[in-house]
């Protein structure tokens, strides 16, 4: 710098202002701004101030191009326009933001103010960590949610929830009111929150009882004991715990001392001994002995059975020809139902039908092997596929004579229970039915039974409590009981199975129909109706006895019977015969073969008498056959 006597760089003292350029023409540069001493500079650019304190006055940063950055520090009483705040060290105090507004949903809020209500606001992915209290119902109204298959309106009242599974729920006492659904365990209704001390009619399978608080007493089916002594005999003790009797000495027998059972040396002559199911008092009198088989026994005195004795011999089975052995009318030939409305098949068995030619009947139809122990059966074969109308009837039956049912005391308070059993074989499995009917056909008991497998012999038994009502023929030759088997009756003749009714029913509602399926078969044999609650072995009577029983109701006689001349030279011939078996009633007689013109003049249960004017005095009069029928 020419003319400058002082060099600033080497100045060691203060340079007086007079020594400086009096015109301050020598410029200096601050930042990117050149200035001359003595000039007034109002704008300095490109200048960085460090650790500058402006202690008073106002600082205005105005119309700054580019970015203005203030790092740290405090700016007081400053207006900022178009400022971007990159970061704040802490939250803005509410009062820093006062007088500013913000809109949430449809609600405009002032910053720094308190808002208690927001309207029309959709919140997404919101997590509510806590609320000060429960949501009032009206906060949630007009919304709905679905529990199970029930749609609930929030804020509304719902009485029922359907099809909802609630798991791991604890219902505390007092919090559940009103009708609470129950559930049944066994036949006990369980109420949630309630106390159950007993469960009834409950079957438990594969249950392991690890312990019981006390031994189960006899009244509950237990023994009342914790242990059962080895090899001891258990003795009943009323409702108390069972008592035991030890074996005692070798060879001892269990006998009674009149009060209890004791183990004693055999050969005692006093006390009680049990044979079969009867206790015999040694040296005393036993009222009865049951279920006992005696071998080589000498009976010193025999007293006939008392009135409650139920015979198992002779006529246990009230059904005659239940094995379908006797067939006097047809000798095993097929029987048509093409005419009439009732036909006898094998002896004592008749079929009735409202429509002809729907089935045929034959002893041993289809030639299947009868069940073991039987040689014959009665077979029905459907001839068409017929849908019965309500008034149709198709059935077969045996009517038991009143003399053979009077002891059942039906229609009285002493009516006896009976069991009907039979073997059945059908091409149609499922439910079949029949009924027991009184003679007036105004009291009946429909029963049903199930054929488990088609074309398989199966034994069926049905136990029927005797009716205490209804009119039942006593010891007469009328109809005691009709045992009927339904083959496809219409609804008029079908009732509820398993109970007595004052209506006339032939079968049970919902049972199979033979006539409904063309070619269907129904075979039956071994029919037995007996007193008691159990079906016992079929009473297979000898053939001769069975035939005699049948002949009380029908006889077919095949031998020539000649007439005699009542007076010498007379043209009249008289013919009479005695039946081999007295018949139930005076029978209807049909004369077959021989001469014609015979008039049956008298018929009784023992025989008949006929005569004819043969027109000459020399010819013989005779018949070759007759039938007599006195069926019920």
């Amino acid at each position: 710098m020419a003319g400058v006597p002082y060099t600033f760089a080497t100045a060691s003292t203060t340079i007086p202002l007079s020594q400086l350029d009096s015109n301050f023409q020598t410029p200096i540069t601050i930042g990117s701004t050149n200035m001359n001493l003595g000039q007034v500079v109002t704008t300095i650019s490109g200048l960085t101030l460090t650790n500058v304190t402006i202690s008073s006055g106002n600082v205005t940063v105005n119309s700054v191009s580019g970015n203005a950055t203030i790092v740290g520090g405090t700016i007081n009483n400053t207006s900022l326009y178009n400022v971007s705040i990159i970061n704040v060290a802490t939250t803005f105090p509410n009062n820093f933001l006062a007088n500013s507004g913000i809109t949430l949903g449809t609600t405009t809020a002032n910053l720094g103010s308190t808002i208690s209500t927001l309207g029309n606001l959709t919140l997404q992915n919101v997590t509510i960590n806590s609320v000060s209290s429960t949501f009032p119902n009206n906060f949630l109204s007009n919304s709905s949610t679905t529990l199970g298959n029930t749609t609930l309106t929030l804020g509304g009242t719902t009485a029922n929830l359907g099809n909802i599974t609630i798991a791991n729920v604890t219902i505390q006492s007092g919090n559940v009111t009103g009708a609470i659904p129950t559930t049944n365990i066994g036949n006990t209704a369980i109420i949630f929150g309630g106390t159950v001390s007993a469960l009834g009619n409950l079957a438990l399978n594969n249950v392991t009882i690890n312990s019981v608080s006390t031994p189960i007493m006899p009244a509950q089916g237990g023994t009342g004991l914790n242990t059962l002594p080895s090899n001891n005999v258990l003795i009943g003790n009323g409702t108390g715990s069972l008592v035991t009797v030890a074996p005692g000495n070798n060879g001892n027998v269990l006998t009674s001392n009149g009060t209890s059972w004791v183990s004693v040396t055999p050969g005692a002559t006093t006390g009680n001994v049990t044979y079969g199911n009867t206790t015999v008092s040694l040296g005393g009198t036993s009222p009865s002995i049951g279920n006992l088989t005696l071998y080589n026994a000498n009976v010193a005195t025999y007293t006939s059975p008392t009135s409650n004795y139920q015979s198992t011999l002779g006529f246990k089975n009230r059904i005659i020809n239940g094995a379908m052995v006797i067939d006097q009318r047809n000798s095993g030939a097929s029987v048509s139902t093409a005419s009439g409305n009732n036909i006898y098949t094998v002896d004592r068995w008749a079929t009735f039908y409202s429509q002809t030619s729907k089935y045929t009947i034959q002893q041993n139809a289809g030639s299947v092997t009868p069940p073991a122990g039987f040689s014959n059966y009665l077979g029905f074969t459907s001839s068409s596929s017929y849908s019965s109308i309500s008034s149709d009837y198709f059935w077969f039956q045996q009517q038991i004579e009143g003399f053979n049912t009077a002891d059942l005391a039906w229609g009285t308070a002493n009516a006896k229970t009976v069991t009907i059993s039979f073997w059945v074989y059908s091409s149609i499995s499922g439910t079949w039915s029949g009924s027991l009917v009184n003679s007036a056909q105004n009291y009946s008991y429909p029963f049903s039974y199930t054929v488990l497998s088609a074309n398989t012999w199966q034994q069926v038994s049905v136990t029927i409590a005797g009716p205490t009502a209804g009119i039942w023929i006593g010891a007469t030759n009328g109809i005691g009981i009709s045992v009927r088997f339904n083959l496809g009756c219409g609804s008029t003749y079908l009732g509820t199975a398993g109970s007595w009714s004052s209506n006339y029913y032939i079968g049970a509602t919902g049972s199979n129909s033979l006539v409904g399926t063309n070619g269907a078969t129904f075979y039956i044999t071994g029919v037995q109706l007996e007193v008691g609650t159990n079906a016992t072995n079929f009473e297979y009577r000898d053939y001769g006895r069975e035939l005699i029983l049948c002949q009380r109701y029908y006889q077919s006689f095949s031998n020539q019977i000649y007439a005699w001349q009542s007076n010498a030279g007379s043209t009249f011939r008289n013919l009479s015969t005695s039946f081999p078996v007295n018949m139930r009633a005076s029978p209807t007689v049909i004369l077959i073969g021989g001469i014609g013109g015979l008039t049956v003049s008298t018929t009784t249960i023992n025989g008949f008498y006929a005569n004819v004017n043969i027109g000459n005095t020399t010819s013989d009069a005779y018949i070759t056959n007759y039938t007599s029928s006195a069926e019920l």
């Binding site: 009328g478 009633a585 005076s586 209807t588 007689v589 018929t603 029928s629 006195a630």
Partner: protein
């Protein structure tokens, strides 16, 4: 149809009646089911002939029915 017959002495046999369709002789026994059916039939108009083959009708039939047990 049914038909009466005569006894040897010429009187009408009132012990039996013939069922013509199968020539069955039905005794007048109330326990006989064919006899029960016979009574029902003639009451319902089924033809009944006398021993000479004449159809019994009117009062004669009513009288006859009245004699049946």
């Amino acid at each position: 149809m049914y038909k009466q017959h005569k006894n040897i002495d010429g009187t009408t046999n009132l012990n039996n009646i013939e069922r013509i369709i199968d020539s069955a002789w039905i005794p007048f026994d109330s326990a006989n089911t064919d006899y029960q059916q016979f009574k029902t039939d003639i009451a319902n108009g089924v033809e009944l002939q006398d021993a000479d083959g004449n159809v019994i009708t009117g009062d004669a039939l009513t009288t006859f029915i009245g004699t049946l047990a």
